[in-house]
Structures are given as C-alpha cells and as structure tokens.
C-alpha cells in the first residue's frame, strides 16, 4: 500500500486539466539516458497484516531491557515514564505537524516548546534554553563551537572523563576548523583543579566537564569553573544529566556558562540509541549566538499572549554560511515528550526519582564492594552509576549475567567505549526501575562468577 488516493478516472481528468497526455509526459524533463525504466530491486509490497507479522518477528529476535533487567547506562538510561506521554504524543496534531513557521497555525507546539525551554532553563539553572538539538554529543559539540565563536579563542580543554563518544564527536566537529582540542587527564576518576589550572591559558576558549562523568562520579564543577573564569572570556561548559539536576547542584549554580547534555532520560525510550534529545541552555549573553530553534512569547494584534519562532536571523535559512549552526530540524516530538515528562513527574516526583536512583545505586555498589574480589574502582561521590573492578575479565561476568536475564552493565574497555578502562572494569547504572530483587540477583551472579 502506497497511501495514494487518486483514482484512474481522476487521473484522466487531472491530466486533461494539465494538458498532458500521460503521466510519462510529466516526467519528460528526465532525459531518456538517465531514466530508470526497470523496477527497483526491492521486496514486493507488504500489506499491513504482513508488516505486523514481520516486524513482530524481527522485534522478537532481540533481547533487551524489555525482557531483561538492565544495568547498562553510559549515556542511555532505562528510566520509567508514564503511559500518558505515549497517548498524548500520538495525537496527530503533534505527530504530523512541522516546525511552527506559521505562528497562528502552530500555537500548540509553540507554547509547549516555550514551556520546554522554561523547564530546561530551570532544571539547569541557566537563563535561556533552546527548543532542542539532535542528541547529547552534537549538543556538546555545538556548545564548543559557540564558545569558540564568542570567545574568539581556539583552545578547548576537554575532560578525559567526558563520554568517549562525545569526545569523538567534538574531535570530528573541530578537526577542519582552526581549533585545538586538549585533553584534561583525570586523577582518581575526576578532573582536579590543579590539572585544569596547568592547562588553562589565555587562548583557552572553553572548558568542557561532564558531571556525573563517564564513571558516574560527581565532578568539582564549582571549583573548575571558577578557575576557568579567572581567564578572560573562557567559557565553562557543563555536560549534565537532567535527572541528576533534580537532586544535585545544577550547572547554573556551579557557574557554568553553557549547559549541554542528553535529554533521553526525560521520557524518551532508549530505542537502540536514537532518536534522542539534545539539551542546550546558556547564560543570557549568549542568546543571539545560540544554535537551534528559539521560541519567544509575544502578543497578537489584540494583545493576547502568543508564541512564535524568534531570533531567526541566527539561523541557516536566513544567514546561510554565516549562521550560528547548520541545524534546521530540532527534535520537536521528543522535546514535547520531555515537557510532558517533567510536568507529569513535577517538582517532587522528579526529585524522588533522582533520590531513588541515588539510593538504589549506592545499595548495589555497597553490596558488590562487599564481595570477595570486587571493589569500587574510584572512591569519589557518585550519582546513579559506578565502576567496579571484577576478579575476572568483564566479558565473562557479562555473559554469566546474561544467562540469568540480566544486562550487567557496560564494559569501559570495549571498543565501543573507546577502551577507556581496564579489561576487568564493569560500569553499572541503576535507575528507579531496578528492584531490590533484581539487584540482589546481580550480586549473586557476580559472587558466583568471582569464585
């Protein structure tokens, strides 16, 4: 089914109205030499019933958090979200609208994005937020570009404890530009003020520090950003976890100039890595340099509140090569999901969720650390993720857990993690969804493997 609706009779009438003898005539601009006269070599059309069968079968071939207890994190987290989000987001008025170019026909999404910007600004403690970016890593890379543009400098200090894929994306985004990426090495899993001060110079455009970092550890944002600000115009970029912001000190309260991060924990399913939701917030002075869509509140001609896309002169469709970014689409539907998620959980609910993550993660960490042969890799404070060193190679541990229906965690030594850890390291994330029973089962597996 191709979803077209023109009948053969109608086609005849329409061709007549056009003054064309055939459909082929409408395509006469395509010269014969480059016309494709065969059928594409694709599987024959499937009915919806066949699609339902085939897709169900493909989905059934996967193991994952839908039928296993998931302790994997490292940038994607298995959080709870209420069903009402799916129900609301399925409304065609949200699903099938586009970028709200026409304010009078798009007040619904515009107002919701304005609510989103406000919630993200409050969550991060920043003055302004945009209406979303592609995902976390590109949001951070765009933050770095913005820092280079606004500071007029070109050295970027990036924490070694930033997610390795985020570091990789920053490298890709900067490698053709007159900019230099310098890695800040970690001490006991975190960036020390001393390391940072040694690396800072007058040409430093930005300092990028993630907290909780890739090891789950809480970094000294306050101290580091204070050091960064001793240099003129150096921009402090905080890479944050939105759930942690509900409990811990947020980027704004620690002195960040830009907060960028992954919004997936806010009601977006893990969906094998995408689509996700890039979050981007900043201090007021950066407003006109920000990438992405911005929604502003204004009035209509009768004085009623109205919302519209604003400051579009920053954007590619007006400024072309001089735009602040090439970004065009945002992640509208996922920004709406996050808005509804934050509203549904609310002030107390989101904090409670963050607290549960914290307490459960610490319960599990304590239990594992008490096992023979296991230890926490780092002793600094952490939020809902931590790294343990196992008595055996981690692949063996992960395999054993898999047989018990548990996704034990992520191996930092793996290639997909850029080989940041040791072969025996296991990175474990705990969300509010994990029960005591599941955690005890994981501890039992680890104990058995360790013997």
């Amino acid at each position: 089914m191709d979803y077209t609706q023109i009948t053969p009779d109608e086609q005849t009438q329409m061709l007549q109205a056009i003054g064309a003898g055939s459909i082929d005539e409408l395509f006469s601009a395509i010269p014969e030499a480059i016309r494709f006269n065969d059928l594409l070599d694709l599987p024959p059309a499937k009915s919806e019933l066949e699609l339902q069968r085939d897709l169900s079968e493909m989905a059934a071939h996967n193991l994952g958090p839908h039928n296993m207890a998931c302790f994997m994190g490292a940038g994607a987290y298995d959080h709870f979200y209420p069903v009402l989000i799916d129900q609301l987001i399925s409304r065609g008025e949200y699903l099938t609208a586009y970028t709200p170019y026409q304010a009078e026909a798009s007040q619904g999404s515009l107002q919701a994005f304005f609510e989103f910007q406000t919630q993200i600004a409050r969550l991060t403690g920043m003055d302004v937020a945009n209406a979303s970016m592609y995902e976390g890593a590109t949001a951070v890379a765009e933050a770095v570009l913005m820092a280079i543009n606004t500071s007029g400098k070109n050295r970027v200090l990036v924490a070694a404890t930033l997610h390795p894929e985020y570091r990789a994306v920053i490298n890709t985004y900067l490698d053709e530009l007159p900019a230099e990426v310098v890695q800040l090495d970690a001490t006991n899993g975190c960036i020390s003020q001393a390391t940072l001060r040694d690396a800072l110079d007058d040409d430093t455009a930005a300092v990028v520090i993630q907290s909780p970092n890739i090891w789950g550890l809480i970094e000294d944002w306050e101290g580091c950003f204070k050091a960064a600000h001793e240099k003129d115009k150096t921009v402090a970029i905080a890479v944050f976890n939105p759930i942690a912001c509900a409990l811990l000190k947020n980027p704004g309260s620690c002195g960040a100039d830009i907060a960028a991060g992954e919004g997936q924990p806010l009601g977006v399913s893990m969906s094998f890595g995408g689509p996700y939701l890039g979050l981007f917030a900043a201090k007021k002075q950066f407003t006109r340099k920000m990438p992405g869509r911005l929604i502003g509140r204004t009035t209509d001609t009768e004085g009623r509140p109205a919302y519209c896309l604003t400051l579009q002169t920053r954007e590619q469709h007006i400024r072309g090569a001089k735009a602040t970014s090439n970004i065009c689409t945002n992640q509208g539907l996922l920004a709406l999901r996050a808005t509804m998620f934050m509203t549904a959980l609310g002030k107390e609910g989101l904090k409670e969720m963050a607290e549960q993550c914290y307490h459960k993660a610490h319960y599990l960490a304590d239990a594992i650390a008490a096992l023979d042969g296991y230890a926490l890799k780092y002793d600094g404070p952490f939020f809902n993720e931590f790294c343990v060193t196992c008595p055996k190679e981690v692949t063996e541990v992960i395999e054993a857990a898999k047989r018990r229906g548990i996704l034990a965690g992520v191996a930092p030594h793996g290639r997909r993690m850029g080989r940041i850890g040791d072969p025996n390291d296991l990175l474990i994330a705990v969300t509010e969804k994990r029960t005591k029973q599941e955690m005890d089962a994981l501890v039992e597996v680890l104990q058995e493997v360790g013997q």
């Binding site: 099938t96 619904g108 509900a246 970004i327």
Partner: protein, 509 residues
C-alpha cells in the same frame, strides 16, 4: 466583512468546523506554570525498597521549580494545546520542500514495539540480531533507491547528512593528496543548510547563478575557472531543484564537475519526485543524503526527529563514520568499527533507530511499484494544482504548453495580486482562516509561495484548495485591505514577531 466564510470546509461533516477547530478557538491557554498547584502530582513511584544511603549536604541542589499538576489537568492542558496546531492529519499542509505526506500509523506501532524501542545502544550484537537486520535491510533499500554503493544510516537529519558527506569528501581529498580542495559550489537557490554545512567543514561556498530556475552551466564553468578546478571539492545541488524543476542538464553538470576532479553532491530533499523514475547514481551524483521525514513518511513531529542517511559511491566508503551495520557470510549482522580512514563519530551511538524503523516499514509497505507510484502521483498532484491556479497565481517556471511541467512542487509569484496592495503574508494568513497551512514563503525567490501537495492528498482536497486560493484572489480583487487583519478565524490574531525578536522573552519567569 468579506465573504471568505462562504466556502468554508467541504469536509464529510458538511459546512461545520471540526471539533478540534472549535475547541482550539478558546481565547487563551495559560502556561502549565500558571496552573501549578503545590502538592499536586500526575504520577507516583513505588516506595523505595532499599535503605537510604548517606547523601552529603554539599552535593545537594536547591530543588527545581517544575509545575505541580494532577493527571487529569495535565491531559487537559496538552490536549488543549494540541487543538491549537495545524497538522497533516487535520489540515491540508502544502509546505513546499517539506513533503508533508500522510504518516501511516503502522510506522508508529512498529517503532514502539518493546523489542525495538527498549534496546540499549551498547548491547552486544548477538542480542540484537533483529534490530541489526532491520538496519541492514534499510541500508540495502536506500542503496537500491539511490543506485549508489553504500549507505550510512547515522546522520540525525538532512543538514547533519550534508555535514557528514562534506566531511567525507574532505577526508577523501586529503587522503588522495588534494587537501587544497575546499571550495564548494552551490546554486544561488540552494537550501540554507547547504552553505551553513560547508562553513562547519571549513569549506567556503560560492554561488552559481540560476536562470529561470535552472543552474547556469556557463556560470558553473566560469566559477570553476575563477577558483581553479584544482580547488573545487564539490558541487552541491538539489534535483529536482528548489524551483520545483527537474534539471535536464544534470548529467552535463555532473560531467563538468567531474572533469574538474570534484564531486557531485545531491541534496535529496526532493527525492519524492523521482523515486523509481531515475536514480541519483544514474545522473552522476557521487554522494547524497535522504530526508526520511520527507520522502519516507516518518513523522515531522513539530520539527523532528528526522533522519538523514547518506549514500555514497564505493571510493568514499572507507571514510564513512563508524559504526557501520554489516552482514557476514553466515547471514549474521554486526556493527563494524574497522574503518581506519573513517571520519570518526558524528553523533553518539548508532543512528536515529526509531526513525529508521518507520522508514523500513514505509518502504516495505510501498514496494517497488508503490514507490514509483508515489513519485508519479506526487508529480501529478502538483501539476494539477499548478494548472488550476496559473491563471490567477503567476508561475514563472510552469509552462505545460511548451512541455515544461513542474516536479512534485511549484513556485508561484503572485505579482498581479500583490500589485493590488496585499502582502504575501496577508495571503498566507488568510489561508489559515480556511484551515489550510500556508505554503513555504519567500523561498527560493522573494515574494513567492512554494506549494507541495504530496501524493497522499485526494482530488477533492486538491479541488477545495483551488477554491480557497481562487476565493482569496477574489477577495483581493474586491478589497485588498480586507486581508490585512487575517487571520480572523484562528486561535490567535496575527502574532507580533517583530516585538518578539526585539525584546526576546524565551522563558517564563
């Protein structure tokens, strides 16, 4: 009062407005923050089943001031907001260059299947063979449709695809001893993302003139001579182009650019017009991106998420970002990270998986005949509208008597109507009064409307649109000033966008 109410909707409900429009007409919907009531909650969590851990005071924040709302009021709020949106489901939405086709709901069902939606991006390949098979098949589908050799599914959107492809072109030339090739040529009616993507890659962009909507090949040659053939990296072109025309000389343009040693990049925004009719590889494209949210019916979602897979010729394959989904001889699937020359990562994890599930589902539903029919009906619908409107709305590029048809969209510059004293904006805002989403405006040329009906609209819908446009023209001819206060029948009157930009209020305080 003008007479535009006379031909109000010809929907199945007769002349009455839909419920959504009536509900949407409420004067003001307060912000969710204004509805907050301390202590209200929409959902709860189970009690904590482990002991409290020590939580050092110095780590704690001050709490986040999020709204507090009960579940019913939350549902009401976001239902009311949805009523205040035009959408493909509820309205004719001929936004040119955006391909606002119907979004089949089987796609949504598929993406939400727990065995797909729940997967963690770092799971072992052995656990997710179904997901990898789906991605591999999507790769193969897009390779066949483009005629190119290898598809990379990673880019998050069309502009991201452009960026990725340009990085690949740069890496290719550097690797082949031609690092000086950093000038990109693009037609003067290119999408704004084209030059913006170039500057992010450290390339400079130079515009090539177009004449009557077509690229001026003489100017293309002049630009190459002017900048030196040895310095040109690529020519970025959209075909069918942004004027809604298939450029018959595309193969010649490809030859010119190839003779200069540079590459032809195709912005695939307008693929809907040529699916199964010609393939980018056949007309000389070396690299291209798809917009799945345009061509393959993945929903636009108020702005996203989209996906921008790229397709490339063999010689560029070593430079694709990692990881790449591949199939082994035994029929198993895996994510390959062994590409020494890869440009690296352009995003976290693998791809816009949930979007690509929808894309796979759509292509599978259509099949090869269906995809060709999509292009044929998209072009038929656009030409039909153009033919019905051309007497009143001038069309600089549409001349069927001389065999000059449009592709899947067309441009009108309604000079006669504008001469009566209305602005293009007046016309657009009056369309809203008829429940029609205005087309793309002022692009690719000033004072134009770019209209793209898509293949999924029925003839009655197209005919109603014709009536609306002719009726608006009639109003202009009778009393142009009557459009100045449009829209009169929307949820709000005209929004003051100038004030919004002058003193931006971006968050609620």
């Amino acid at each position: 009062m003008t007479t535009f109410m006379e031909i109000k909707p010809t929907t199945s409900q007769g002349d009455s407005k839909s419920n959504a429009v009536v509900r949407g007409a409420r004067a003001v919907e307060p912000l969710i923050f204004e509805k907050s009531v301390a202590g209200q909650r929409a959902v709860d969590l189970p009690p904590l089943d482990v002991p409290h851990a020590d939580l050092p005071e110095e780590l704690l924040g001050d709490g986040i001031n999020l709204p507090e709302i009960g579940q019913h009021d939350l549902m009401t709020h976001y239902t009311h907001l949805s009523d205040r949106n035009f959408s493909v489901d509820g309205n004719f939405y001929p936004l040119g260059s955006c391909t606002m086709k119907h979004n089949p709901r089987i796609n949504e069902w598929a993406a939400a299947l727990p065995g797909l939606a729940s997967l963690h991006p770092l799971q072992d390949d052995t656990q997710i063979q179904g997901a990898l098979r789906l991605l591999y098949e999507t790769r193969c589908f897009l390779e066949e449709i483009s005629g190119l050799d290898e598809v990379c599914l990673q880019p998050a959107a069309g502009a991201h695809g452009e960026y990725t492809a340009l990085k690949i072109i740069r890496a290719y030339f550097k690797d082949n001893g031609q690092p000086q090739r950093n000038i990109v040529l693009a037609p003067d009616n290119a999408h704004g993302t084209n030059p913006a993507s170039c500057s992010m890659c450290g390339c400079s962009v130079n515009m090539v003139k177009s004449i009557s909507g077509y690229t001026d090949l003489d100017d293309l040659r002049r630009q190459i001579d002017k900048h030196g053939a040895e310095n040109i990296a690529a020519f970025m072109i959209t075909n069918p182009n942004t004027a809604g025309l298939f450029d018959s000389k595309i193969a010649e343009a490809a030859d010119i650019i190839h003779d200069a040693g540079a590459k032809l990049y195709l912005d695939g925004a307008n693929m809907n017009a040529i699916l199964g009719k010609t393939r980018p590889a056949d007309f000389g494209a070396d690299l291209m991106h798809f917009n799945t949210h345009k061509t393959f019916s993945t929903p636009h979602g108020c702005g996203g998420p989209g996906a921008g897979p790229i397709a490339v010729r063999k010689e560029f394959a070593p430079y694709l970002p990692i990881p790449q989904v591949i199939m082994a001889d035994d029929g198993s699937f895996s994510l390959d990270r062994d590409r020494q020359k890869s440009i690296g990562k352009v995003r976290s994890f693998t791809c816009q998986f949930g979007v690509l599930v929808r894309c796979w589902t759509y292509i599978s539903a259509c099949g090869p005949e269906g995809l060709r029919n999509v292009a044929e009906k998209a072009v038929l619908n656009a030409n039909y509208l153009a033919a019905k409107l051309r007497d009143v709305y001038e069309m600089p590029y549409f001349d069927p008597e001389n065999g000059r048809f449009c592709a899947h969209e067309f441009v009108t510059v309604p000079e006669k109507l504008l001469a009566k004293g209305v602005t293009l904006n007046d016309i657009a805002k009056r369309m809203i009064d008829y429940d029609v989403h205005p087309p793309t405006m002022h692009w690719p040329v000033h004072d134009c409307l770019m209209i793209e009906p898509t293949e999924t609209e029925s003839k009655p819908t197209l005919d109603r649109f014709v009536s609306v446009m002719l009726n608006i023209a009639k109003q202009i001819n009778e009393d142009a000033s009557s459009l100045a206060d449009a829209p009169t029948d929307a949820t709000i009157r005209r929004a003051d966008e100038v004030a919004a930009a002058r003193k931006p209020m971006l968050i609620w305080e």
